[in-house]
Symmetry: C2
Subunit: 233 residues, 2 copies
C-alpha cells in the first residue's frame, strides 16, 4: 500500500481523467486548487500544474486565475493532423512516389491569390503546377504560387526534379501558416490531371505561409475523393 514511486505529471493527469470519466468531478464542476491537489498527491505544485495545463490544452479542463479550474462542459476536443511532405505521405502507404512538373512560369498573382496573401493583384509571382503520383496513379494535384520577394532563390530552383513542396521546406522557413480544408468540384485542369470526370467531388487543402508578415507561398492541393484525412485521439 505504500512503496509508491515518485508520481509523474502523467500519473496525475491519468488519475484526473479517471475521476472525470467516473463522474467524481462532473462536467462544469470546480476541481480543487493546485495546492490542494499537490498535497493530496504528495507532490509539488509544479507537477500538478503541468498535468493540469496539459489537460487544459487538450480541452478537458478550463482554467482561469482566481476562478479556479473546472471540467469543461463541452470538451472542445481538438483534432491534430500532421501535415507531412506528400512524398513521405505516399511512401508511408507503401507506394512508390512519382512526380511530374506541369508548368512553371512567372505571372501576375490575380485577385483571388493576391487577396488571400495580402498582395496586390498585379504582383509578379512564381506559379508552379505539378502532380504527385502514388504507384503511378495521380495522388495530388498541386497548384502553387510563390512570392519571389520572400524567396528569391525560387526562380532558380530545380522544380523539374524536386517538387516545390520539398524544395520550400528546406529553403523557405515561415513563421505563420494557415490551413483550409474543404470540398469542391474538380475543374477542367484538375480533373484531367487526376484522371477524374469533370465536376467530381475533390478534397482540397490549401496552405498559406508568411515569414514575418511577408507572404511566402499559397498552395492549393487537390485530391481525388478517395482521399481521407484521419486523426486518432
Amino acid at each position: 500500500m505504500s512503496g509508491k514511486k515518485r508520481l509523474s505529471y502523467r500519473d496525475i493527469g491519468e488519475d484526473i481523467l479517471r475521476r472525470i470519466a467516473k463522474r467524481v468531478w462532473e462536467p462544469g464542476a470546480l476541481i480543487p486548487g493546485e495546492q490542494a491537489l499537490a498535497a493530496e498527491f504528495g507532490c509539488s505544485r509544479a507537477t500538478v500544474n503541468r498535468a493540469l495545463q496539459d489537460l487544459a490544452r487538450a480541452g478537458i479542463l478550463e482554467r482561469r486565475r482566481k476562478a479556479g479550474t473546472r471540467v469543461s462542459l463541452n470538451p472542445v476536443r481538438e483534432a491534430r493532423f500532421v501535415i507531412p511532405l506528400v512524398r513521405h505521405e505516399i511512401e508511408a502507404k507503401g507506394a512508390e512516389y512519382g512526380y511530374r512538373l506541369l508548368g512553371c512560369e512567372t505571372a501576375k498573382a490575380g485577385k483571388a491569390v493576391g487577396d488571400r496573401l495580402g498582395l496586390d493583384k498585379s504582383a509578379r509571382m512564381l506559379h508552379v503546377r505539378c502532380l504527385h503520383l502514388a504507384d503511378g496513379a495521380p495522388y495530388q494535384y498541386e497548384d502553387r504560387w510563390i512570392n519571389p520577394d520572400a524567396v528569391p532563390d525560387a526562380r532558380n530552383a530545380p522544380f523539374e526534379t524536386v517538387s516545390p513542396n520539398e524544395w520550400l521546406v528546406t529553403n523557405a522557413p515561415f513563421s505563420r501558416a494557415e490551413f483550409v480544408f474543404r470540398a469542391a468540384r474538380a475543374g477542367v485542369e484538375e480533373a484531367a490531371q487526376l484522371e477524374l470526370p469533370e465536376g467530381e467531388a475533390v478534397f482540397v487543402a490549401e496552405r498559406l505561409t508568411w515569414l514575418a508578415d511577408k507572404p511566402v507561398t499559397f498552395v492549393r492541393m487537390v485530391h481525388p475523393p478517395s482521399h481521407r484525412i484521419v486523426t486518432k485521439l
Copy 2:
C-alpha cells in the same frame, strides 16, 4: 540597452524561431544544449527547456537525449482543429441556430457501420438523423449511430429538442476518438436535406468514439461545399 525584464519562455522561443528563420541555425543543424542556452539568455535551464519542448511539440525541433536538439529537416507542422459543438460553431458566426430531428429509430448496424466500430452487422443500435441550420439555412446533416450498450440512457433521450451532438457531450464520455475528413458526392437524402443538387460535392466529417474499448457512437456530418475548416498556426 540593458533594462531587460526577466525573460519568459515565450521570448526565448521567439528568439530561437528568429534564428532558424535567419539561418543562424540551418535545418538539420545541432543547436546548443540547454545549459549553454540558459547561460546565454541569462535564465534557468528549466525556462529554456520549456521553450524548446514547445518548439519540439510544434515539430520545429527534434530532441533526443544525449544526441541533443536539432532543427527539423522537414518541419512536420501539425494542424490543430478544434471540434466544437455545431451549435457553438453556428452561433460563433453570429447566426441563429436551428435544429430539426429527421428520424430516430432502433435498427441493425449494417456492415459499413459495424465494421467501423468493431461491432457485428446485426447489432441493434440507435439510429438518429437530424439537421442543423444557421439562420434557417441547412448547415449540417447529421447521421448518427449510437451503441445503446454503451449509452443505455440514449433510448430515452429527448432528441426532439436536443441534438444528439449536444446530448452526448454531457452524457457519454469517451476515452478514444477518431476523426476522418473527406470529400464526397451528396446522396439523395443528404442532397434533399441540404437543399443541394444530387451529386454536389460535400464535405464529410466522421467521428467515432469509444469508452474503454466499447464503441459509443459513429457520426457522419455532411456540409455543403461552402463549408471550410480553417486553422492558423
